[in-house]
């Protein structure tokens, strides 16, 4: 990437999220920067990885108390924006791709209408022009017969195609930052790779930052330049290569994965009590 500028697209410092009063912190003291690169957040259920993504989008319910020293998108603070200002920002500057296209697409609108809606809202295109933009974008995500697919409803398309439609919709306005929250967990393995390479290609082309949130440490390692590992709401380690992992949690996660090249009779299991002791220190 030649024109890779140095200031980060997203800069988060000291992010805390609490649900309810006096309750446990879902995210505590999380700081990271995302440049025009691909960064992965890895962790298990309840580690706070999705909550972090939603806090950046300011999509958490009112009961969640979000505080941060800094949360900037392209040098402008996200924290003191009104809900209305966030509304114009979401989808235009930050896009969120969610896990299951079956639930994140509107079931009563055709695919074409939904993508055209994104073109209308974020690019100010009208009528036929919005439709053309939608069709061009569908071609871009390698849907071979965009004309036909535009007229289909979400239940008539497969999961892989649904996720492509989702990507088309989200990347149409060339957002600065794309947050992909488990974008491939609901898909079959063979489709998974296609969707990931497509996402990668489009993000590079737009010169955006990508925050990939996933539980699959191998996939993230194969795909991202930096890996942030989260455990119980904290960042335990940031890696560029999986082999450099030092923290017992990351090492534990990796040895818990079955590896066909080097079979064991019993898999290693995380010692949670010891881990909690170490992380709370």
């Amino acid at each position: 990437m030649q024109d890779r500028d140095l200031h980060p697209v997203l800069s988060v410092k000291g992010l805390n999220v609490r649900f309810g009063r006096n309750s446990l912190a879902a995210v505590s003291n999380v700081s990271f920067d995302v440049g025009r690169e691909r960064v992965g957040i890895v962790g298990e259920s309840g580690s706070g990885k999705s909550t972090t993504g939603r806090a950046i989008m300011r999509l958490l319910p009112p009961i969640a108390g979000v505080t941060a020293e800094r949360m900037d998108l392209d040098g402008v603070s996200l924290l003191d924006r009104t809900e209305r200002q966030m509304g114009t920002l979401r989808g235009k500057d930050i896009a969120l791709i969610m896990q299951d296209p079956r639930y994140s697409l509107n079931p009563v609108l055709t695919v074409g209408k939904q993508i055209a809606e994104a073109a209308r809202l974020h690019m100010g295109l009208r009528g036929g022009k919005a439709r053309d933009a939608a069709q061009a974008m569908l071609e871009r995500v390698r849907i071979s017969d965009p004309e036909r697919v535009m007229a289909l409803y979400p239940h008539q398309i497969s999961g892989g195609m649904g996720q492509r439609v989702m990507i088309a919709m989200m990347l149409l306005a060339r957002p600065k930052l794309v947050i992909a929250d488990e974008p491939t967990s609901a898909l079959d393995v063979s489709v998974r790779r296609d969707v990931l390479t497509l996402l990668d290609e489009l993000v590079r082309e737009n010169n955006s930052g990508l925050l990939l949130i996933s539980h699959d440490i191998r996939m993230v390692a194969a795909f991202c330049e930096r890996i942030i590992v989260m455990y119980s709401g904290r960042i335990v380690e940031t890696l560029t290569r999986l082999e450099d992992a030092q923290h017992p949690y990351t090492r534990g996660l990796m040895s818990a994965l079955p590896d066909p090249h080097n079979p064991v009779r019993r898999l290693a299991v995380l010692d949670r009590a010891k881990l909690d002791l170490e992380t709370s220190r």
Binding site: S45, D188, V189
Partner: protein, 245 residues
Amino acid sequence: MISVRDLDVVFTSGKTENHVVRRVSFDVGKGETLGIVGESGCGKSTVLRCLSGMEKGWSGDIGLAGKAVGKIRTRDELRHAQMVFQDPYGSLHPRHRIGTALAEPLRAMGHGDVWTKVEKALRQVGLPPAFANRYPHELSGGQRQRVAIARALILSPPILLLDEPTSALDVSIQAEVLNLLADQRDERFLTYVLVSHDLAVIAHMCDRVLIMKGGVFVDELTKADLQAGITHDAYTRELFEASFL
């Protein structure tokens, strides 16, 4: 232990026909673990449901423990094979306590001394007996899957049918459940049929793997093949590469 010949399943709805499983045959020896891998809709779960007796619309021959079984099973035939399902949230009755859920197969089979057996079954899967008084929502995903395994093992079946037993779980919990399954297999000399889309899990657990696509088996791999990454079919190759192995 299991022998299947020309198993065929067609689902019909009005005029549309869906040929899900197309004349498949396979055998599983005693103490062996057979894996079936494939993508959504390839028919792998349907094969398992036929083996367990849940699916009635099949044709062909199925033999369990050396005896041919029909579409409607007798009590003894049902006891040969028990099933563990994918979703630990959906497979336990939300308003039955764990003890009641575990006692149900025993009652259905007319066993006595139910509660001591329930207690023993919970201990075997590494849960305290006091869990019998809890409801499923008071348990974590991994604990629920342990209860599901305890329920399948409580009738001491020689065959366990596992339909994606760990795909709803985190990797660290997955390791615990896979270890439990391996221990039980060695202890009781059980025969497993494990269905999954995760090649790494299959390679870890199985002696032999069948690759399924569009209702037929396209490839068969041994444990040595899996370790060395040997494949005999283009589709298998594709699956291997996509799994980041």
